[in-house]
Assembly symmetry: C2
Homo-oligomer: 189 residues x 2
């Protein structure tokens, strides 16, 4: 696989349970779990996207503990996982960062727990990743009640929801990222 | 699929990073994330296994908030997820609980981030789940540094590790459960 893959965890623009626009707070364990998953599946960078300066300072404090402080000494695997994490203020900045790194504009893929029209099915998503071509892909996940319409509107594809055995569709974003990257990037089982 | 599937999150007997036996503490977000994943994939029960009475009291307090208290009112999907959670003192009690419920002794499947001999490969694991037959399966996951030898020794199968794109094998247990249940129980993608 040649395509560089990037993951973005979006704290804004997202909606709350009532569909209203909010800025959600950074959750410590999101960063740990998703960084470890991204490192496992060879993701180039994991962008933590939050427009709040103080939230990004919190992220930097957490990262410093694991990258430079006591955490990294006692747990070098966590230090390695955190090496893929970057805090940024907006989805646009994540796109620019990928353009600077690769010289190409990424395809934007969004994710949702909800069904809808024109969803990219898992087989096609996997096929697109496996195809030749070096255009990077940025996969965006929403926190809180999910990505807001303005993010879907700039995306090239919305991946179909993860379905289990029934109608329950309330995975944590940590679990959704794990399953998504396994489905798209793992060695075929 | 007819086989009843059970998941156990083991806090003892497990080992720490140095391979020494420990009892690990219950992590709030483990319960939330794994309950939601279990509910998504139709798991019959999710056993939180910890021999400490005070730890199981903590679990009951957390569950009460979501099943009977304010949490369940504001977030009914979380209440539904918690309906599959049961706190128990030992792996043996989980086996007995399944025997009482189904009238059959379960197959014990264990998981590990480490390679080794006689691992059950993912294809065979999936095939066994899909086969006819009603013998329940109990899938055990270790916290801390993983399950200890005495758990592996009573297991019928050890599933092979989840491998990503490289040698990094440090997924969180929350992510490992999500990927495992998706690989074994999801509708085929």
């Amino acid at each position: 696989m040649k395509k560089p893959i990037y993951v973005g965890l979006v704290h804004h623009p997202v909606v709350n349970r009532r569909g209203e626009p909010v800025i959600s707070a950074i959750t410590n364990l999101d960063i740990h779990d998703i960084a470890r998953t991204c490192r496992t599946f060879g993701v180039n960078s994991f962008f933590v996207i939050n427009p709040s300066e103080t939230q990004l300072m919190l992220l930097n404090d957490i990262m410093a503990h694991w990258k430079k402080g006591a955490g990294g000494k006692s747990n070098p695997e966590r230090k390695e996982a955190f090496s893929v994490v970057k805090g940024l203020e907006s989805v646009e900045m994540a796109i620019s960062s990928i353009e600077e790194e690769t010289g190409m504009r990424p395809e934007i893929w969004t994710t949702s727990a909800r069904d809808g029209e024109n969803r990219l099915c898992w087989q096609d998503a996997r096929r697109r990743i496996d195809e030749s071509g070096e255009q990077p892909v940025l996969i965006l996940f929403g926190t809180a009640g999910g990505l807001s319409e303005e993010v879907f509107s700039i995306s090239d594809f919305i991946i179909e929801p993860i379905k289990g055995k029934n109608c329950y569709n309330h995975l944590s974003v940590r679990s959704a990222v794990a399953i998504t990257l396994d489905r798209l990037l793992s060695r075929r089982i």
